[in-house]
Structures are given as structure tokens and as C-alpha cells.
Symmetry: C2
Subunit: 566 residues, 2 copies
């Protein structure tokens, strides 16, 4: 696809998956790392460089063999890269820029950079490795605060939570001989992440917002999309894009964020390379983060809409496979993943060691509930104590597939029956009061935003001059199901005709008077036309109905109709 | 995932993609082929064997290095493999079995094998390379018939169409010095193919039925799923599975079939390896044909449901990238593919040569129409003379997403309006007369089969004691939209109440009396909730409605209401 050679500093799993993506596009890659590194295992070129990605000579040797240099890890010798870039004797391009790597690899410089560019992040302070310095920070930030190593820290190594003054001694021992800084404590409810691609011309594009679940400070699960409202997802995307815009050079960036208790989002850390939270893109997106990285550093085009999940009904969970206590015991999880529909196993070719990242499994499904059911199957038998299943209070789902709205709480007794059906079928839904006549602007906002929030069908109940279903249908392109609610006069025929007799152009799927059960079943049939889980449940529901009636007729036929109700 | 080494005879693109799949599972592969073969380029093992996959010594050398032997091409030395299998000095497993390779690599033996096992295929006859022998076959089979080389034939090379007796001389010259057989002419309307996986225990599983489009005897496009009715798809799957059951050994098999004019399906040829018609599985299915092959020969589990497209709304087209007349001119197509949403480029690392298979593009979309629109964008500017766009006579789609039914042809004037809306939106649909009262059994059959035929919504129009929508809804789990048709009495209120007042448990989405427009728009909204193409079209349609009304009010406001209709 491109005749230029790409040199990669670092040959771990990220380099390996970069090489995999390069193979598909017939792009040649040369790797600098120790012999037999994961990336070298799948790359037949004989001119790899053996050595450290911190060794000036090895970096110089690599740069002479390639046209473009990139990294799979930020802990490289950025000064050498900077010299290389300035040198007139080499024409190698370096992405991301050495300046970017230099800022990001020192977490304190990174913080200061973000703060100076107006990106929301926790306050940070440089500290000395002395009790006095740490006490001063404690007075300024309050307790707890985070003490972090400025460099060479990953997967929580190099971090220490200073709970109160009495922990300062322990903190200094734990992080002795490392350059330190302190970070104000952030009370977060979820950790979010967004992969952002920066093109050589500086434009940025981002993948969907995901949610990361850590276990012992190591990424355990990634939910894509994140189980937060659409507005939060969008906010996170924009904030991540803004953060990446402040850096220079091309490539993919992983932006880790905290969702705070008050709904604000702050940036935690940025990685100037492919990131564990973006592995789901290999199976859930059209273009993986690794291919996007290669395309961006080579100036190759990105596809229109590359940043979406591959279909609107795609949901994905990534599970990291860590080395078990027994050699190769992690392969048990992989075997179960092989047996599971919608699961893909990715192994890195590393020798097994307890707690080491050995590979990951991407699970793809038509709904998050289905993805979680598959995850549970795969994790069966292994400790899942930190496994956070998304369970919602009925009718308050953050990612509803169905939205039930009604004009007044007086409609609730009728509409709650349908809500219970959705609950029974395990459909994520929300239930709200939205009045056409009393909250017309709220209604407009609801209708306009519903589709982009992931809602697939709206159920609207209304009585009398029932305008809600038709008005919402006029402002959304989603299917709207209308439930005529019977009022005190006219037996509900007023509501029925107000809902069903819509003019040409704006349909409302009307069901029988007061029959919110059928509205819910209709919504489930709509979901079932595209999501097998609901199709199967509906088939079962209908078979049960048949059985119930058959049981009743059996009773009549055996006992006689006169004894039926005795 | 498995510590056994796999040896591959042949290192072309199929071997390369097998190696790619093996890397992901951390399975080691050793390749026998010439130096620098595509599969070797992406495989860092140093113990590859350089040589021909027909050379006994090279095969023996390979077999000493690995635990399991497999092939990426059937034109290997099967006798040597048979000897190896019998030999007591080696413990190598061979998949598929040498006997299977032996039968399949000789196309005449393959035909005779299929016929003797009761698999439907064209009649075949062994012939001598003499005019007399060919004339005798012409008398038996009639003209035209196919003259084929028994061995070493692929991509149409080695085939000659004998139109009549006068062509016999030319045929013998074209195929001189090759072992020949003749095949009875098959009048086919489409070419179908199914990838079948045979496990070590002999069980078979198959991928979806696809449609292949050839150009100059080389596979040009693959549509997945095939654009044929569901019943034909299923028949092809079963026939392919039955054919593969007759062979021995594990692995994936590509079964090429003809769909004849009379609706019968016959097997054309079988390949005992991954196949060009299965490349779409890399991006459209959860497990690719290459990974399925590796798993089956190693006895690793296959996932439940691996053989489905990744979501029920996934549609895919594969486009082969052939070498252009100018070196690397094929990269133009690849560049456009990189820019296209839902397209993935796979290049093989082969030096460019006109007509050579250099790579392929897999296009994935929520509907076949969307996939074709993407294909058109990618192929823009290149000759597309044999490009067969799926265009249907309105209302006769073979893969309808929406089915319009009505109780009587007297309902057609009302229902045709909705049909035209579907046509205008480019929705594949069918229109049928199905009467609840006069064809009750036809109605049952229709309702029961609709979902499995790929229909996503049913529109049913009926008048008077309108039972059709509700009865169909009782026998399908799909969403059913009811259109009350106005009769000669009661203004359609009879139909409206018959349709909308369904009992709890069986919903019908009822629209206004005679308003099939809204029924069609509702069906499109249902599709649009899951297929972006229809969502976008609906948004545009609604914006247009708004513009029309704004233009009208502008006319009233500028000309005065009294002059509005003048």
C-alpha cells in the first residue's frame, strides 16, 4: 500500500499488532527490541535491530533502515529522537513528534502541559522526596492524594495513595529513588477512555468512548461503548480530541479520563500510541487502532466513519488475559473463548508469567447484555470478584433501547404494565413523563435526541386529545408506538382516533386502547427483527402463550365446561 | 493456543492468511514453498523449507519439522503424503487426508466420487485426446459441453467450451498434452458457494451461502449472503455439507455450486482448503475461514454459531484486486477502499503482474444496497462492465426486508401507494395477496416463514372484518403493521377497530385508515433504527416535508391567502 518502511521502537504486543495490521496492507516494518520480542516473531524481515529502544546507537541503526519511525511505548529515548529529527544527515520522519513523546513520558510535564492548554485535569505539584515536601502538598491538596513517579510508570506501578500524613514515610520508601510529583485526588465514578487519531495535517478523529474496568491497577475489562449516557460519551470524545490537538506529530493517542461524581470529565493520562483500551477496535470497528495508527503516520487516508462501531447494534467487551499462577493456565480462558460465539482470541506470543498480559479476548454482540452473558461463560470458573455487571434499576437504563414516555403520571398505571413486559424480556429501557401540552420544549428535545442516544423505539401513551405520540413522531425518525389511554369519557375512542389518524408522512404505530402490553411486545418485535436475543425470547413467549391456552382447553375438555371455574 | 507446529504445503496468499490467523492464536507454522513466498514474508520462523510442494524430499523435510501437515493448494504430491501417512517412522498428522486430496486434485475422479455418493453434479465422461472420442461425447451429452483438464486447472485455465463439432479440433489444440474429461453442460443462473468445515471427528459446519460473480473466469465479486431466497440458501448449505461429508480428514472445504434454471442446485467443484469465495469471512464473520481451518485440523473447538454473519444485518461484498496493466495501478482501487467506510484492504505481498490476484477488499454494511454503493465508490473509474448490480422489479425482491400483503386485489390501489414509498426509499420488498379467509393455509405458511426469509417488517392491509394483520401477527414474531382499508360502509372504522383492538399478547402496529404511506414510512423507521442508510434517508425525507410546508407558507405570506390557489 505504501513502499516506505516503518521502524517501530519497541516490539511488545502493541508492536506485534501494529505489524499484523501492516502485513495486511503489505507495509514493511522493522522492529527495535530484544531478540524474539513478540513483534519480531511474526515479522520475517531479517534486518530487525536487536537492542534497547533507549540505546542511541540502536535507534540510529534503525533510523538508517527505515523512512518513518514510530513507537509502541513512550519510555523511549526522546532526546535521541529529537537529535535525529534535527540532524541533516537523515531524512527519517518521526511520529508522534519527539517533543510530544518527551512531554508525555514525564507525567508531571504532561499534567502541566494539559493544564496550560486549558484541558481539565487534576491539579499537580512537583515534589521533593522529603517528608516536608509531601506534608506541604498534603496541606495544599488535602488527603488522600496521589504520589506518582514522573517516569517509567505503567499499570499502576509507580503510584502510591497517600491516605494521610502517617503514610508519607511508607510512600517515600515505596517510590524511593524515583522523580516524584503529587496529584490532587479525583473522586471518580467511572474510568472512560477514547482513542484519538491525529493526522499529519493535525486534524483529529476519535473512536467511540469506552469504559475501562481495572483490577489490581491493571486494565481488566473494556466496555465499548461506555455504559454512560450519550451526552457523557460525546463530552468525553470532544475532551479527548481537544487534548490530543495540543500535541504535535501524527499517530494514535489513548486518552484515559475520569468521570467525576458531579458529571464532569477530567483527563487522567495520555498515551502517544495504541492503547489497551483500544484493542476492542480489532473486532468491533471497521478499522483497528493499529491500522489507523499506521495510516495516520504514513499520510494514508482514513475511511469516512472509521470511528464508529461496525454496526449501530454492535456492542463489545474486551477481556485482558493475564498469566495465571500455573504456567499456561490462562489458556483455559482462551479455550472457553474459542467455544463462545462472537469471541475472538488474540495471543501475544509471550512466555507465561503470573499477572503478565498474555493476550486478550474481544467479545462482540448485538447487545451489551448478550456480550456480558458471553463474558460470563468465558470467565466461568475464574475469580470474577471485580466483574461489574451492568444492572439497572428498571426504567432508568443509561443506554435504553426503548423509551416509554407518557403525558401525565395519571397514565402510569396503564403504562407500567408495558414497562413490566420490557423488564421481563430484559430490555434496557427508560420511563419518563413528557407532556406535549405542558412541557412542549422538553418534548422537542427528547424527540430530537432520542435516536442519537441509541434508542430504537419510543412508546408514547396519552389520553383525550392525545398529541404526544404524533408530535414526537413528527420530530424523530424512530418508530413511535402510540398507546391510547382511556379517559373518563368517550371510552378512549377520542385517544385512539387522535393517535391513529395521523396525516400521510408521519406514522404512529397504534395499539389497542390501554394496551401498553402490546406496545411493549411490538417494541420487542422491532428489536427482535435485528437482535437475535429478543427474537428468540419473543418466539418463546409466543410458544408459552400457546401452551397456556392449550392447558386451559385441556381443562375444559377433561372437566367439562360447567366445572371450568369451580 | 496449541504447542503443536503446523506445516503448510504452499505459501501463496491462502497460506499467508492461514499464517496470519495462526499468529493471532500464537500457533507456529512452517511453510514449504519458494523463497520469499507471500506466507513466508510474514512468518519469522527460520526453519521454513525452500522448494516445491511437489518435491518428495522437501515434503519429507517439512514433515520432520512439524506435528500436523496441511495444504493451501490441492496440486501437491498426494502420493508422497499417502506414503508419509502409512510410514511408521513419522507421526505427522495430515489434514485433509491424502486420499481426499488425491480424489479432489483429479477433477474427473472428483466427479465420479460425487456421483457415486449421490451428490448432484453434472454428468462426466473420461475422454481420449482424439476427435473420435470427443465426437462420441458430443453425441452423448449434446452441445455445448465442457472439455476440461483433469489436473492442475484453476481460474478457468484448463477449460474449453465445445460449442459444436466444428470446435473439436481447436479444443484439442488448446488442451493438448493434458489428461482430459468431458462434462455435460449445466444451464445455470447463478454460481453459489459454501465454505464447509470438517472436524477431526467428521462433523461438518458451514458458513452462509454466498454468490460468486466471475469475470474472465476469475472470481471477481462475492456477495454474502447470496442474493437468492432463503430456501435456496439453505438447500445449497445442506448440499455442500453432504458433499463434504463424503470425504475424509479435517479442514475447510470450498464447495462451488450452480443454481440451475429449474431451481435445482448441483455441485461444480470442491477445493479441500480455504477458498477465494470465503475471504469475506475475515471481516463479515466472527471466525474467519483461515482460523476455522486451523482450529479444525488441530482439534480446537469451533465457536457456537461461528458460521453466521457477525450480526443479522451484516451484508458483505468481496472484491478481488487483480494486477493492472501498469505496475501497481491496482493500488488506486486500494486507496479508494481505504477512504471508504466499512471497507477492509487485504494485500498479499506479491509482485504485480497484469491479471494476478494481488489482494482483495471486503466491504461490510448494514444492507446489500449500502454495500453496493460502497463498491461503486471503490470501483469508480475502473471498467465495471461485468458488475452486476442487484436491481429488482419493484415488489419482487428475492431478499425482501419488508413484505406487503393484502387480503384481496381490491386493496391494491390503497396498498400500492405504500409500495411506491418503499421503492422510492430503495427498500427491497415483496408484494403478495394473502387472504386470511380464503387462503388461510397460505397465510400460515407465509407468517411462519417470514422471519427466516430475512423479512424485518410485514405490512398487512385489510378491510371490513379485517383479520389478516392480527392473524399474521399471531403466527410471527416480526413487527406487523396493519392498514385499515375503507370499505363501502362504516367509513373504515370497522377495519380500524378489527385491526387495532388486538388482545394483550399479540400487537399490531395500526396506522390511519387507508394510509399505506404511513405504514411504509413506519417500516422504514423500523429498518432505520438499525440500518444507518434508512435512518439517513428518513431524516432527509422529514427535512424535505418541512421544506415543502415552509415553501407553501411562504407563498401564502407573500401572495396573500386569497390568491393562494390562483
Amino acid at each position: 500500500m505504501d513502499s516506505r518502511k516503518v521502524g517501530i521502537l519497541g516490539g511488545g504486543q502493541l508492536g506485534r499488532m501494529m505489524v499484523e495490521a501492516a502485513h495486511r496492507l503489505n507495509i514493511h516494518t522493522v522492529v527495535l527490541d530484544g531478540e524474539g520480542a513478540p513483534a519480531k516473531q511474526i515479522n520475517a524481515l531479517s534486518d530487525h535491530v536487536n537492542g534497547s529502544f533507549n540505546d542511541p546507537e540502536a535507534i540510529a541503526e534503525l533510523s538508517n533502515k527505515v523512512d518513518v519511525l514510530t513507537i509502541e511505548i513512550e519510555h523511549v529515548n526522546a532526546d535521541i529522537l529529537e537529535d535525529l529529527e534535527k540532524s541533516s544527515s537523515t531524512k527519517v520522519e518521526i511520529h508522534p513528534s519527539p517533543q510530544t513523546i518527551k512531554i508525555i513520558k514525564d507525567k508531571y510535564l504532561q499534567k502541566k502541559h494539559l493544564i496550560s492548554h486549558g484541558i481539565a485535569t487534576a491539579d499537580a505539584e512537583s515534589v521533593e522526596s522529603t517528608p516536608e515536601s509531601l506534608e506541604a502538598v498534603g496541606k495544599k491538596f488535602g488527603y488522600p492524594y496521589m504520589l506518582k513517579s514522573r517516569t517509567d510508570a505503567y499499570d499502576g506501578r509507580g503510584n502510591f495513595v497517600v491516605d494521610d500524613e502517617s503514610k508519607i514515610k511508607e510512600a517515600l520508601e515505596f517510590l524511593h529513588s524515583r522523580p516524584l510529583y503529587a496529584e490532587k485526588w479525583a473522586k471518580f465514578t467511572k474510568e472512560l477512555a477514547v482513542m484519538v487519531v491525529r493526522s499529519t495535517d493535525g486534524t483529529v478523529h476519535s473512536y467511540p468512548t469506552v469504559e475501562t474496568v481495572q483490577k489490581n491497577n491493571i486494565c481488566h475489562l473494556v466496555y465499548a461503548p461506555a455504559r454512560v449516557p450519550d451526552t457523557i460519551q460525546l463530552k468525553a470524545k470532544l475532551e479527548a480530541e481537544n487534548a490530543v490537538k495540543t500535541f504535535t506529530g501524527a499517530g494514535i493517542f489513548g486518552v484515559e479520563m475520569f468521570l467525576l461524581e458531579d458529571g464532569e470529565i477530567i483527563v487522567n493520562e495520555i498515551a502517544p500510541r495504541p492503547h489497551n483500551s483500544g484493542h476492542y477496535t480489532q473486532d468491533a470497528c471497521v478499522t483497528s487502532q493499529f491500522e489507523a495508527h499506521l495510516r495516520s503516520i504514513l499520510g494514508l487516508p482514513l475511511p469516512k466513519g472509521f470511528s464508529n462501531l461496525s454496526t449501530p447494534s454492535t456492542n463489545s467487551i474486551m477481556l485482558n488475559i493475564l498469566g495465571g499462577d500455573e504456567p499456561n493456565s490462562e489458556l483455559e480462558i482462551c479455550k472457553r473463548a474459542l467455544e463462545t460465539a462472537g469471541a475472538n482470541v488474540h495471543l501475544y506470543g509471550k512466555s507465561t508469567r503470573p499477572g503478565r498480559k498474555m493476550g486478550h479476548v474481544n467479545i462482540v454482540a448485538g447487545s451489551m447484555a448478550e456480550a456480558e452473558a458471553r463474558l460470563e461463560r468465558i470467565m466461568h470458573g475464574t475469580p470474577i470478584e471485580s466483574f461489574q455487571k451492568s444492572s439497572d434499576l428498571a426504567g432508568t437504563s443509561e443506554n435504553p433501547l426503548v423509551s416509554i414516555i407518557m403525558g401525565s403520571d395519571s397514565d402510569l398505571p396503564v403504562m407500567a404494565v408495558g414497562a413490566n413486559i420490557l423488564k421481563q424480556f430484559g430490555v434496557p429501557f427508560e420511563l419518563k413523563i413528557v407532556s406535549a401540552h405542558r412541557t412542549p420544549h422538553r418534548m422537542s428535545k427528547f424527540a430530537v435526541e432520542a435516536a442519537s442516544r441509541g434508542v430504537k423505539a419510543i412508546i408514547a401513551g396519552a389520553g383525550g386529545a392525545a398529541h404526544l405520540p404524533g408530535m414526537v413522531a413528527a420530530m424523530t425518525s424512530l418508530p413511535v408506538i402510540g398507546v391510547p389511554v382511556k379517559g373518563s369519557v368517550l371510552d378512549g375512542v377520542d385517544s385512539l382516533h387522535s393517535i391513529v389518524q395521523m396525516p400521510r408522512g408521519v406514522p404512529v404505530a397504534t395499539v389497542a386502547i390501554n394496551n401498553s402490553t402490546n406496545a411493549a411486545l411490538l417494541a420487542i418485535r422491532i428489536l427482535g427483527a435485528f437482535i437475535p436475543e429478543y427474537h428468540n425470547k419473543m418466539e418463546k413467549y409466543m410458544a408459552n402463550m400457546e401452551e397456556e391456552v392449550l392447558a386451559k382447553t385441556h381443562k375444559i375438555e377433561t372437566n367439562g365446561y360447567e366445572n371450568y371455574n369451580k
